[in-house]
C-alpha cells in the first residue's frame, strides 16, 4: 500500500523550514504542467526551461508570502504565466496589450471558422495555432491557454488571474472571436462561408 501523498501546503511549510527535498518534491509534482503552460508562449525548449526555472526560483523567494487560503498550484500558475509574459517583453517579443474595455458586451456574431483539414498534421495545426495566439493580446492569449490547453475551470482561471468568473467568460468569448479573426486573416481557406 502506497503512502498517502503529502499535501502541497505541508511541503511548502517544510520548504520554509529549510527542507530542500520538500521543495524539490513540489517542483517534481508540477514541472510537467509548468512546461506545458510555458510551451504556449514559446516553442524554444531552452527558453521554456529557463522560464520555468525562473518562475520556480521566484516562487521559492516568495514562499513565505504565499497566502495559504488559495491553492499552491493557483499561485504557482500565476507566477509562471507572469514570468512567461515578462520574458517575452524582455526579449522584445512584446505580447500585445489589450486596450479595449473587456467588460463591454462582446459582439454577437463572431466570425465562423472551419475545423482544420483532416489531412493536416497535428504539428502543423499546432504551429498555425501558436502563431495566431502570439498575435493576440496577452489577456486573450492567457485565457485560451488556460482553458483550451490546460483545461482549467473558469473558477480556477478566475483565481489565477484575480478576476471574476463573469470576466473570465467575457474574456474567453472575445478571445475566441479574436482567434477566429486572426486565423482567417492569415488562412482565409478556413472560412466556411467562402
Amino acid at each position: 500500500m502506497e503512502p498517502a501523498p503529502v499535501h502541497d501546503l505541508d511541503l511548502v511549510q517544510e520548504a520554509l523550514e529549510g527542507n530542500q527535498l520538500s521543495f524539490q518534491l513540489l517542483v517534481e509534482r508540477y514541472q510537467d504542467k509548468l512546461f506545458s503552460i510555458v510551451r504556449q508562449y514559446t516553442r524554444n525548449p531552452v527558453e521554456i526551461e529557463d522560464i520555468v526555472q525562473e518562475a520556480l526560483l521566484k516562487v521559492y523567494r516568495r514562499l513565505d508570502s504565499f497566502q495559504k487560503q488559495s491553492s499552491f498550484s493557483t499561485w504557482l500558475y500565476r507566477v509562471v504565466v507572469n514570468t512567461a509574459l515578462d520574458f517575452l517583453k524582455r526579449c522584445g517579443r512584446n505580447p500585445v496589450r489589450a486596450v479595449e474595455d473587456l467588460e463591454i458586451v462582446p459582439e454577437n456574431n463572431p466570425p465562423r471558422i472551419a475545423a482544420p483539414d483532416a489531412n493536416m498534421e497535428q504539428e502543423e495545426i499546432a504551429r498555425v495555432t501558436h502563431e495566431v495566439l502570439l498575435e493576440l493580446p496577452e489577456i486573450f492569449h492567457t485565457v485560451i491557454v488556460m482553458r483550451e490547453f490546460e483545461g482549467l475551470a473558469y473558477q480556477e482561471i478566475a483565481d489565477i488571474l484575480g478576476i471574476s468568473i463573469g470576466t473570465v467568460e467575457s474574456r474567453l468569448f472575445r478571445a475566441r472571436a479574436r482567434f477566429k479573426e486572426h486565423l482567417l486573416r492569415s488562412h482565409p481557406e478556413f472560412d466556411p462561408t467562402v
Binding site: 520548504a15 520554509l16 529549510g18 530542500q20 527535498l21 521543495f23 524539490q24 518534491l25 517542483v27 517534481e28 514541472q31 510537467d32 512546461f35 506545458s36 510551451r39 525548449p45 521554456i48 526551461e49 529557463d50 522560464i51 520555468v52 526555472q53 525562473e54 520556480l56 526560483l57 521566484k58 521559492y60 523567494r61 516568495r62 514562499l63 513565505d64 508570502s65 507566477v79 507572469n82 514570468t83 515578462d86 520574458f87 454577437n108 465562423r112 471558422i113 472551419a114 475545423a115 482544420p116 497535428q122 504539428e123 495545426i125 499546432a126 498555425v128 495555432t129 485560451i144 482553458r147 483550451e148 490547453f149 475551470a153 473558469y154 474567453l172 468569448f173 475566441r176 486565423l183 466556411p192
Partner: protein
Amino acid sequence: MQDSCQKSSMLIPSYLDGELSEEQAAPLRRHLMECQPCRDLAQDEQAMKRWFIAEEAPAAPPGFAARVARRAFAGDAGVLTDSEFALQPHVAGSGNTEQEDPTLRFVLQLTAIAAAVLFCLALAIRTHDLPESADLGASEDYSQVVEKLMRMNAAEEAAADEIPGLPRKDADDEPMNRKTRK
C-alpha cells in the same frame, strides 16, 4: 436574431466548456433542438476547439527539480528578475533578508582573494631582496678597521717597491699624461 437566440449564443461557449449549471443547460439544450442557426453556431464552436491541440510539451530534463531546488536554497535570485518578486526575496532560515546578486558577490570575493595574494607576494619579494639586519650592523670597532686598512696600504707599498717596473706610490698620484711624457 431572436432574444432567445441572442441569449443562447452567449451561453453556447460556456455550455461546451461544461461550465453551465443544469438549470442553465437544460433550456439551452431545448433551444438547440429547435433552432438550426444556434445549432450551427454550436458546431462552429466545436470546430474551433479542434485547433487547440495540446502538443506534447518537452519533458523536464532529468534532475531538473533537484537542480532548481539546489539553486533556490543556495540563494540564487535567477536571471530574469521581476520587479514585484525582487522586492522581498526570501532566504531559507534567515527570514526576509536582502539578497545579494550572486555574480556580484562572486566577483567581490574573487577580487578580495586576488588582493590578498598580491599583498602576500609583494611582502615576500620585498623581504627576500632586503639585506638581513645582521649584515647591516658594524661588527668591528672603527679604530680596528682603520688600523687594518693602514696595514694593508703599507703592505701594498712595500710590495710595489720590490717589483721593478711597477710605479711607486708617489708616481701613482701623478696624472697619466705626465707619466707618458717622462
